[in-house]
C-alpha cells in the first residue's frame, strides 16, 4: 500500500512532464523517435519539466493570483502536500481525517490545478514541436533534411519525386525506381524506414568502368495509369540509397482551375463512346412500302 500510494502521487506530480513530451512529438509526423534519448534522460527531463511547471504555477498562485484577490483561488500549502505524500505511514494516521476534509472542500481546485499544469505541459511541448517542424527551432532537430521535404508541400501542388537505387542487382545492373513520394517514414538514425511511391517507374542503372549509366527506357509498374489506388512500397531492405527532387510548385487560381475543368470536359467529351450514329442507323421498319 505504501509503495502504491507514493507511486500514484509521483505519477500525478510528473504528469505535466509526461504530457510535455507527448505534445513535443505530436506535430512530428515523420518519426516518433527523431530525438532519441535514453530512458534515464527521458525521465530526468520529465522530472525537470514537471518541477519547473509546478514551481511556475506555485509562484503565480501564491504570489500573484491569491494576493490579487482572484476568486476561487487558494494558496498552495506545501505542508499539506508533504502530509499527503506520507499519509500512509503509521505516524500520520491522525492527519488523515483532516486531509479528507481538505479534499472534500478543495477537490475542484485540486483537479483544476492538475488539469491546468498538465495542459500547459502539453501545450508547451506541442509549441516547441511545431517550431522545430516549421522552421524557427529546426536547428534542434537531429535530421533537418526530413523537414526540408515538408517545406514546399503547403503550396497548391508541391510534389516531391524520389529516385531510388534498389539493392536488386544482376551482372553490374541495378534496378532503380522513381515516382512521386506519397508517404515516408524515417528511423531515429535518419535512415528511411519505408517509402510509398505513386506512379512508380522502374529502370536500369548500369555500373560501368567510368560512370554509372542510367538507361533511358523506363517501365511503368502500373497496368493502368488512371487507377487511383496504385503505389509502390519500398522498405529499408530494398533501398540502397535515394535522391529526393522537389518538383516546381503548381500555383492555382480560380481562372486556371476553370481552364483545367473546361479542358477536362473537352477531353471527356472527345473520349466518350459515340452512340448516336449507331442509334440513327437503327430505324423502324417502314411498313407503308408494302402497300
Amino acid at each position: 500500500m505504501s509503495i502504491a500510494w507514493s507511486t500514484v502521487i509521483v505519477v500525478v506530480m510528473l504528469l505535466p512532464g509526461f504530457l510535455f513530451l507527448t505534445g513535443f512529438y505530436f506535430p512530428e509526423k515523420v518519426t516518433r523517435e527523431s530525438a532519441p534519448i535514453s530512458p534515464l534522460g527521458q525521465l530526468s527531463s520529465v522530472v525537470g519539466i514537471a518541477f519547473l511547471l509546478h514551481a511556475i504555477f506555485y509562484c503565480i498562485i501564491n504570489f500573484i493570483a491569491y494576493p490579487g484577490g482572484l476568486p476561487f483561488v487558494r494558496p498552495i500549502a506545501i505542508d499539506h502536500f508533504i502530509t499527503v505524500l506520507r499519509v500512509d505511514s503509521g505516524t500520520m494516521q491522525p492527519a488523515v481525517a483532516a486531509l479528507e476534509e481538505m479534499f472534500n472542500q478543495h477537490a475542484l481546485r485540486i483537479l483544476t490545478y492538475f488539469v491546468s499544469t498538465s495542459g500547459t505541459g502539453f501545450l508547451m511541448g506541442w509549441s516547441i514541436g511545431v517550431l522545430i517542424v516549421k522552421g524557427p527551432l529546426r536547428s534542434l532537430a537531429s535530421h533537418r533534411w526530413i523537414y526540408h521535404l515538408i517545406d514546399g508541400t503547403s503550396a497548391a501542388l508541391g510534389l516531391v519525386r524520389a529516385h531510388v537505387l534498389s539493392k536488386t542487382s544482376h551482372s553490374g545492373r541495378v534496378i532503380v525506381y522513381d515516382g512521386i513520394v506519397e508517404e515516408f517514414y524515417a528511423n531515429a538514425n535518419g535512415t528511411i524506414n519505408h517509402l510509398v511511391l505513386k506512379d512508380a517507374h522502374s529502370g536500369i542503372l548500369e555500373i560501368s568502368d567510368n560512370i554509372p549509366v542510367r538507361h533511358a527506357n523506363r517501365m511503368t509498374i502500373a497496368s493502368n495509369d488512371q487507377e487511383p489506388i496504385q503505389f509502390l512500397v519500398l522498405t529499408s531492405d530494398d533501398i540502397a540509397n535515394l535522391y529526393f527532387e522537389r518538383i516546381p510548385a503548381v500555383v492555382t487560381t480560380d481562372a486556371a482551375r476553370q481552364k483545367l475543368q473546361e479542358a477536362l470536359d473537352g477531353e471527356r467529351r472527345s473520349s466518350a463512346p459515340t452512340g448516336e450514329p449507331q442509334q440513327a442507323s437503327i430505324r423502324p421498319v417502314d411498313t407503308d412500302n408494302s402497300g
Binding site: A155, P248, T253, A255, L260
Partner: protein, 75 residues
C-alpha cells in the same frame, strides 16, 4: 508522414486524366527545369501541347508503317 495531401492527389489525378492517363506526360511537364513554380493554366496548356505532339508522332508512325506495308510486293 504524408507528403501528398488529398487536395494534391485530386489535382494530380485531374492532370493525369487530362494527359489521357499518361502520368509520364504530367511528370515531364511538371519537372521542366529552370522554374521554381508554375501556373496551373500553363501546365494545362503544356500538357495539351505535349498530347498533340505525341498524337502527331503516333499518326506519323502509323502512316509510315501503312506506306511501307502498301509498297511491299511479295516474291
Amino acid at each position: 508522414m504524408r507528403l501528398m495531401s488529398r487536395k494534391d492527389e485530386e489535382l494530380y489525378a485531374q492532370l493525369v486524366e487530362l494527359a489521357g492517363g499518361k502520368s509520364d506526360i504530367v511528370m515531364e511537364v511538371l519537372s521542366q527545369p529552370n522554374r521554381r513554380s508554375v501556373d496551373l493554366g500553363t501546365v494545362v496548356d503544356e500538357i495539351l501541347q505535349k498530347k498533340r505532339e505525341l498524337a502527331a508522332k503516333s499518326r506519323e508512325s502509323v502512316a509510315v508503317s501503312a506506306a511501307s506495308s502498301s509498297t511491299y510486293v511479295p516474291g
